[in-house]
Amino acid sequence: MPRPPSTTAPAARLGERALAWAFLLPSLAVFAVFLGYPLYRTFYLSAHANDLFGAPSRYVGLRHYTDLLGSAEFGRTLATTALFVLLTVVPGVIGALLLVLLLESRIRGVRVLRSAFALPFAFSVASAAVVFGVFYNPATGVLNGLLSHLGSGPVPWLTDRHHALLSVALATIWLNLGYNVLVLSAGIGSIAPEITEAARLDGASGWRLARSVTVPLLGPHLFFLVVVSTINALQSFGQINILTQGGPDGATRTLVYSVYEKAFAYGSSDFGAASAQAVVLLVVVLACTAVQFGLVERRVHYS
């Protein structure tokens, strides 16, 4: 929308400029203090050694980064992070897609069901993690109870290094399902009804309609969801802290959790090393955002 040429006098115009900055100031001040400055400060801290209380002591250049490169533990942290992303994003998106496709079949009660599938959206990461913690309880949990009904032995959901990451991922998938269903439902809603009607008239229905019409048209929404879920998974913290504290034996130590451990857990204040890991996190997340903006936003017209 082009701004109409101003008819106001220069003095009034000056006043308007001042008003504009006055209106922008509160937001810009918050961003400067709590995003801009800390962004710079994270880099600064990552290039400094620190004393026991976390105060930066001397400049060490890239040493924290070269330490990370040579650390087998950090390599494992990155691998765990990648695995966690894979374990949450792929089933989370595919599961939600199947659900919304099934909801497309014209049966009664679909509206109620769609709202019901969105309910996990009300859960916070803490409440979801705590509920799943109750489920995973080895002695009294519902899951092992169910398994014993089926004649299977108890599963060490959170206490075994081969199960823990999967269990945390399962809670995460459930937590994000509501959001994923809402996004894809909105996507299906934005498909022009004439297109599906035409396909139906041509005899397409059921899976054929889904496979050759609905899913391809959902492409941008699916792509958006994959990127957003990836970024979310990379930032996951609460469920790991509540369910496993990164354990057992580091099996659920993701990048964010590692930053937390180095900076805040067990009285640790190793802000330098933690900041170097935070920079790695920043780069990875920004790369995902760049992919999204490069491939999707080009087609979405914002102005």
Binding site: P26, S27, L119, G133, F224, F237
Partner: protein
């Protein structure tokens, strides 16, 4: 015949999926009213034999849940109100006021959406602690008083405001301030509601920041209280579920009654 079978299969799969997805919700609600005896049976009872409200009292004795409820309400309420205000002002400046480089200024707001908060949490912790605001309401809310998301959404809807109405208001002598609060804001209630729902949900559900910035149970938010319930009473799932149910009341209400607002902000809100 094949069609009927197909429909039956769809029904069955959907029912199964709904059961699985809704089970945690069901369990949080019903489990909160189950007796320890029901919850401790092995395998656990899915349908309670007796209903009790004792879990709520016991949970509140274990962790100062009421105080934490208040903390969460204050924190989420202040953050929501503040973000609405700062976003309204910023979006107004971006759309209705003359700026030399509007695209560049808007770029700052967009850029804030891309920074993962976990990457800047250490310096923010140091800033707030350095100001002596650790373990205070100020420390909990200060970093979240502005919002790139809210400004972004409001800019979109302000731009669609009819120019004739704007001109009519100007001719009637309405200055910027009066036009903003008397005409623009009332006419953009749906967008404002969508932002409010989103901001409130994410503020109410925050975990990482309140975890590190609070030290005492009296200042912790409900979400942190829930995780301490789990640590303190892992043998008493009823208490934990009672805490969960309490924490869910406002957010469930928002998701059930505010779903159309949530859908409005869906894709924009995802870029946090």
């Amino acid at each position: 015949m094949r069609r009927t079978l197909g429909r039956l299969a769809v029904h069955l799969v959907l029912a199964l999926a709904a059961g699985t997805v809704l089970f945690p919700v069901y369990y949080a609600v019903v489990g909160a009213f189950m007796t320890p005896a029901d919850l401790a049976t092995y395998p656990p009872a899915l349908i309670p034999h007796h209903l009790t409200t004792a879990n709520f009292g016991a949970a509140a004795r274990s962790v100062p849940l009421l105080r934490q409820y208040l903390n969460s309400a204050v924190v989420a309420g202040v953050i929501t109100a503040a973000q609405l205000l700062t976003s309204i002002l910023a979006a107004y400046a971006l759309v209705f006021l003359p700026l030399r480089r509007p695209a560049a200024v808007f770029g700052i707001f967009l850029a804030t959406l891309m920074v993962p908060w976990e990457a800047v949490i250490i310096p923010n912790y140091l800033t707030i602690s350095g100001w002596g605001l650790g373990n205070t309401y100020f420390g909990l809310v200060l970093p979240f008083l502005a919002s790139g998301f809210g400004t972004f959404m409001l800019r979109q809807s302000f731009r669609q405001f009819p120019a004739e109405l704007r001109d009519a208001a100007r001719i009637d002598g309405a200055g910027h301030w009066r036009f903003l609060w008397r005409i623009l804001v009332p006419l953009n209630k749906p967008s404002l509601a969508a932002i409010a729902v989103y901001v409130f949900l994410s503020a109410w559900n925050q975990y990482f920041w309140p975890l590190i910035i609070t030290r005492t149970a009296q200042m912790q938010t409900l979400q942190i209280g829930l995780s301490s319930l789990r640590v303190a009473d892992s043998a008493a799932p009823g208490l934990i579920l009672a805490g969960v149910l309490l924490s869910l009341l406002p957010t469930l209400a928002l998701v059930v009654f505010g779903q159309r607002f949530i859908v409005r902000g869906l894709t924009a809100g995802a870029v946090r």
